[in-house]
């Protein structure tokens, strides 16, 4: 029987709920889930203090309510399916390695920081630092997929090493900053200074963009590998059109202040 948690008491201050992860809830019954510890501000409380719990012992978990103040949900998640029926706070899926998280509303900052696998789908917007490295950490996202159907904030993919971030609308500034490798797709417009400090990896936008002067223009061509990604994004429900599949892209190489082996591909029609 799937597990459903319904928010009955809105937290007054941020609520840290690392325990709300399908793989952890899968072994617990209703009472066991309600007794799990959460941190409300600096006070120790339980899941049951904020959520009513229905069902148990299942890898599919649905959480209903505006969880905009609930942080660290699905930390280290390794499997199962978590559906958040509403908004979610920051640090969703921190370091997750498997499974899938679906957010029907908006997500806060730090979606999938330093995640290694699995998939996060946000139907609304997401905040800053999507798939990024924490401050002081050299490596951000190490694998998996983050799909955002709305916009994302600044510094998405900061220090990203592997995996894919895709956003249906615009991205904020410094998209792919310090990127080591991996792929970022922005179907809308790229923010300023995208790819700054990038070593390897790919940033794609379906619009033109101002590219940093430390990038060199290479060519306008048909990148065949891109078709695989765009088909995948279309499969995931992002608005990829036929023209994008067969179109030409301007390739910029950079960032020359680093390895200079990264690329920004801008759709040219």
């Amino acid at each position: 029987m799937s597990v459903t948690l319904t928010l009955h008491t809105q937290p007054e201050v941020p609520l840290e709920a690392e325990c709300l992860s399908p793989d952890r809830l899968a072994t617990l019954d209703q009472a066991g889930i309600a007794a799990l510890p959460v941190l409300h501000g600096n006070r120790n409380m339980t899941v049951g203090d904020f959520f009513s719990v229905d069902g148990g012992k299942d890898l599919t978990v649905r959480i209903i309510g505006d969880l905009g103040r609930v942080k660290h949900v699905a930390t280290g998640m390794s499997g199962g399916h978590l559906i958040i029926d509403g908004n979610i706070g920051s640090h969703l899926g921190l370091g997750m390695s498997g499974g899938e998280i679906t957010v029907t509303g908006h997500a806060g900052d730090w979606v999938g920081p330093e995640m290694g696998g699995g998939r996060i789908v946000v139907r609304g917007d997401a905040g800053h630092m999507v798939g990024s490295a924490y401050r002081g950490s050299k490596v951000g996202m190490r694998g998996g997929e983050i799909i955002v159907h709305g916009r994302i904030g600044n510094e998405a993919g900061n220090g990203m090493r592997r995996g894919m971030i895709a956003v249906a609308a615009d991205s904020g500034d410094f998209t792919g900053v310090n990127m080591i490798a991996g792929s970022i797709f922005v179907l809308g417009r790229l923010g300023a200074r995208s790819g700054a400090g990038m070593k390897r990896g790919t940033i794609v936008s379906l619009h033109d963009a101002e590219v940093l002067p430390t990038y060199s223009y290479a060519a306008c061509y048909h990148p065949v590998f891109l078709r695989h990604y765009l088909l995948r994004l279309r499969q995931l429900g992002l608005p990829v059109e036929e023209a994008h599949l067969g179109g030409r892209y301007r390739r910029w190489s950079g960032d020359s202040v680093e390895l200079n082996r990264g690329e920004i591909l801008l759709f040219a029609g």
């Binding site: 592997r162 790919t202 990148p223 065949v224 590998f225 695989h228 088909l231 995948r232």
Partner: protein, 299 residues
């Protein structure tokens, strides 16, 4: 047993275990995909002289290819898995990577997989890059029209080589017509290729030779011009031309299915008999009996 007026000889095709793979070649146009596929499957008629046997399995519409461009499916067979891997590196490197606009993908989840793109990538002179999507690693090798995209690994699986039909007709014209009709019908079967020129071979061979250094020589029993001087000719007086169709497949069932289709298509007025080549059942791992194929059995 007869189909129409053609006698189906009560014999069997003796086939061998080989290792095979499927390669999907795509390109900007169908013509370029076919150009690469034809090049890749050239000089690949017999494993004895060419180290592998390869052929075009079918054309693929864009909707059925990994990158949604027009494509061609190629099957390649060799005697062992490592041999398949070596031939893939050679042939994809020389015939597909060189062909404008192409990309090359693995077409089967085989028992084993061979590193192909992972070897060809060195052509990129350290400018190559890889992308991993859904567990699939693609190599992007910079070339003069953009990039050559190739799968890192290609699956390899046990297959069957040497399925065959012998079409014995009264005249060359009639026998050629029957052979072409058979090949056309057999191409409708999935998972098989007919590796000889347009699927037909006239120089059928037997094991051994009067010349000690040769492993194979002309199948004199089926050569009409030798009927007067050999005492073991297999040809009747009214059989003036014999053509063979060799079939390699990814499974015994696939080869059997193709042979069944071929017999039905080839049988016609002027084709006296349809037989199959074997070595007395002493060499091959598979015996595909013609009568049992027509009775609905496999072998």
């Amino acid at each position: 047993m007869r189909i129409k007026t053609t006698e189906i000889v009560d014999t069997f095709a003796e086939a061998f275990k080989m290792w095979g793979t499927r390669v999907i070649i795509t390109a900007q146009t169908r013509e370029w995909a076919l150009a690469a596929a034809r090049s890749m499957t050239g000089f690949a008629t017999s494993v004895i002289g060419c180290k592998c046997e390869a052929g075009i399995e079918r054309e693929l519409p864009a909707a059925d290819t990994p990158d949604r461009r027009p494509g061609v499916s190629v099957l390649l067979f060799a005697m062992d898995a490592a041999g398949v891997g070596k031939r893939l590196v050679e042939r994809i490197g020389q015939c597909v990577m060189t062909c404008p606009t192409t990309a090359c993908y693995n077409g089967i989840d085989g028992e084993q997989s061979m590193v192909v793109g992972g070897q060809l990538r060195y052509f990129g002179d350290a400018y190559q890059a890889s992308k991993v999507l859904g567990g699939q690693r693609l190599w992007r090798i910079p070339v003069m029209d953009g990039e050559f995209v190739v799968d890192d690994r290609f699956g390899v699986q046990p297959g069957v080589g040497g399925g065959n039909l012998l079409i014995l007709g009264g005249t060359m014209t009639t026998t050629l017509g029957a052979a072409r009709a058979a090949v056309k019908a057999m191409r409708e079967a999935a998972g098989v290729i007919m590796p000889f020129p347009d699927g037909v071979v006239r120089s059928g061979s037997k094991v051994g030779s009067k010349y000690k250094t040769l492993m194979a020589s002309t199948n004199h029993q089926y050569c009409p011009t030798l009927r007067g001087i050999v005492d073991d000719s297999a040809l009747a007086a009214d059989e003036g031309c014999v053509l063979e169709i060799v079939i390699d497949g990814l499974s015994e069932d696939a080869v059997a299915d193709a042979m069944r289709r071929g017999m039905h298509a080839a049988a016609r007025r002027g084709i006296r008999r349809i037989a199959a080549g074997n070595y007395g059942g002493n060499l091959g791992q598979f015996q595909i009996h013609l009568h049992q194929l027509l009775d609905g059995g496999k072998a």
